[in-house]
């Protein structure tokens, strides 16, 4: 088993517009990218449970071979910058992805 943290160069989150949060998981090399993709561990259900969402709320979950990257897009809790904002740019919400375990 290896964690996503160990298999990747970059795991980041950022807003995609004021209403959505998008994650990029960029793998170190083609082998680990394929292993992660083929393992089918990262699913909409997993993301929904980590981020306290309904499964249908996971809007995008796609694998991009050219960038050896996985992209996930979910709704933000509140529109960016409204009172009560925790993270204006949505840049610090990625940590939950780091400990996802992938069988190698």
């Amino acid at each position: 088993m290896a964690s996503l943290y160990e298999l990747t160069e970059i795991i980041r989150s950022k807003n995609a517009g004021p209403y959505e949060l998008t994650f990029d998981v960029m793998f170190k090399n083609h082998n680990v990218y394929q292993a992660a993709r083929n393992s089918a561990v990262i699913t909409r259900e997993l993301i929904a449970s980590l981020y306290e969402l309904e499964v249908e709320e996971v809007r995008v979950l796609v694998w991009f071979d050219q960038a050896l990257a996985l992209k996930i897009t979910i709704p933000r809790r509140i529109p960016a910058g409204s009172p009560g904002e925790r993270d204006l740019y949505g840049a610090q919400q990625h940590v939950l992805l780091e400990s996802i375990e992938i069988p190698m």
């Binding site: 950022k14 809007r59 990257a69 910058g81």
Partner: protein, 461 residues
């Protein structure tokens, strides 16, 4: 027509700074145009709503002056989009005044094109009454109420108003809110090169050196060249930059940035489709991209952004070191909400909002924080009160910080209520920034890409 158009992009955001030496040596490579994006909606609705510019005047002027001087010296265009950050009237005028000031100080003379992006509220409200205007990323249709309560509304212009302003003779174009890539794509399109390559190149380069691999120790932004050709485009850093390079990986990685679906990016007029694009490492620092497509929308749609004033705010910050208080903080904050409800019983609860952020516990991630029950040795509590008038916001904030946090009783309070928190500042209230929220974020159909974006040309100097 020459084989290609070379666009020089000095940085990802005008005002963030860029390496002036690298910029100067990039000029020796004969760029055909300099393009700089001035803004973004990322910093939230307050800049649009209040009319404040995102970057300071000082840093914007420092970044703009070399660009303007170079453009006039080389007799090439300079295009700045989303001026002042949010790109509404106040921000556009602010940016134009900076440009005029630089021109005066350096005795520069040129035709200045100014393109506005403000949407008239009566016009938009009338359309909202008579048709369904769909929301982006959220489900609500645009209501006339949301239009009227907005302090400012802009549309993101496409490349068409910029191309038209160039055709009308402008050398320097200062545009209000625009789609991120169009300021960079406009001149290549004006020069007759394919839109699908110009726009895709603009998408890659609109954040400046973020599309490059840069050695960590470099620090400042590296200017980028984007060259549009008949059958594709080329990305590389400005010349003579040691260790900085465009790679297939760095270009592809950047295409993911801030996009919900990077292979198909919607812009005014259509979709940039890079699902069939081929990326090739030409040499160590240069990437060529071919095969990007632009799929025309049957109807032309403009993304609208609008910001509405929510209320006045008062913010304070307090440190906690007492272990007993740290251990009970959730319960204490819950109790404080009850105390506030009682103390301000004359106010209905939709007259004010009270938000806590507990740093050291779960301020950043809230309820999904897996470490929220770990007990740290120190907490930072940020108190945010929002209300319909400043006095109420101040009162709620002061009551929470002074009466409650500083002096309240809690179980096993070993310092006896004399001082439960460490206040870093006098005055305690660290800010009163007005609160705004996004009130419009919708797609509007138009029959003409120019109709919402009037432009004018003035001779400067």
């Amino acid at each position: 027509m020459s084989d290609s158009v070379r666009v020089l992009i000095p940085s990802g955001l005008l005002g963030f700074g860029y390496d002036k030496e690298l910029f100067r040596s990039a000029l020796e490579e004969s760029p055909d145009v300099i393009a700089a994006d001035g803004g973004s909606a990322d910093p939230g609705p307050a800049y649009l709503g209040s009319g404040k510019s995102f970057m300071s005047r000082r840093s914007t002027k420092a970044d703009t002056a070399p660009l303007l001087e170079a453009a006039i010296d080389l007799q090439i265009p300079l295009i700045v989009t989303s001026a002042g950050g949010a790109g509404a009237q106040a921000h556009l005028e602010w940016m134009v005044s900076i440009v005029r000031e630089i021109a005066r100080e350096n005795r520069l003379s040129f035709a200045l094109g100014i393109i506005a992006a403000d949407i008239d509220k009566d016009y938009l409200a009338s359309r909202a009454r008579s048709e369904i205007i769909h929301g982006l990323g959220h489900v609500d249709h645009l209501s006339p109420r949301d239009v009227h309560r907005s302090a400012a509304i802009v549309g993101q212009m496409g490349w068409e108003p910029i191309v038209q302003t160039l055709k009308a003779g402008a050398q320097v174009v200062i545009a209000g809110r625009a789609c991120d890539e169009v300021g960079i794509a406009a001149y290549p399109i004006y020069a007759g090169f394919p839109k699908e390559h110009a726009l895709a190149m603009g998408k890659v380069t609109e954040c400046g050196s973020d599309c490059l691999e840069i050695p960590m120790e470099r620090g400042g932004d590296v200017p980028v060249f984007g060259e549009v050709e008949e059958d594709g485009f080329i990305i590389r850093p400005a010349s003579t930059v040691e260790g900085s390079r465009a790679t297939v990986a760095s270009v592809c990685k950047h295409m993911l940035y801030e996009e919900r679906d990077p292979l198909r990016v919607a812009i005014p007029g259509g979709v940039e489709d890079s699902s069939l694009a081929a990326f090739h490492q030409l040499d160590e620092g240069t990437v060529r991209v071919r095969g990007t497509r632009f799929v025309l929308d049957p109807t032309y749609k403009v993304k609208l952004e609008g910001s509405a004033f929510v209320g006045y705010r008062c913010i304070s910050i307090a440190g906690v070191r007492s272990n007993e208080m740290i251990a009970q903080i959730d319960h204490i904050l819950h109790k404080i909400r009850d105390m506030v409800r009682n103390h301000f019983s004359d106010l209905s609860q939709d007259n004010y909002q009270l938000h806590f952020r507990v740093y050291g516990k779960n301020a950043v991630m809230g309820s999904i924080e897996p470490e929220r029950d770990r007990v740290p040795h120190e907490l930072g509590i940020v108190v945010e009160a929002v209300a319909k008038d400043q006095d109420t916001a101040d009162s709620v904030c002061k009551y929470v910080t002074g009466t409650c946090l500083l002096h309240m009783w809690y179980e096993n309070n070993r310092s006896g209520c004399s001082g439960n928190i460490a206040v870093p500042f006098s005055p305690e209230e660290i800010g009163r920034p007005e609160a705004y929220e996004w009130s419009v974020y919708h797609l509007l159909e138009v029959s003409d890409p120019l109709e919402l974006f009037p432009s004018r040309i003035e001779q400067v100097g």
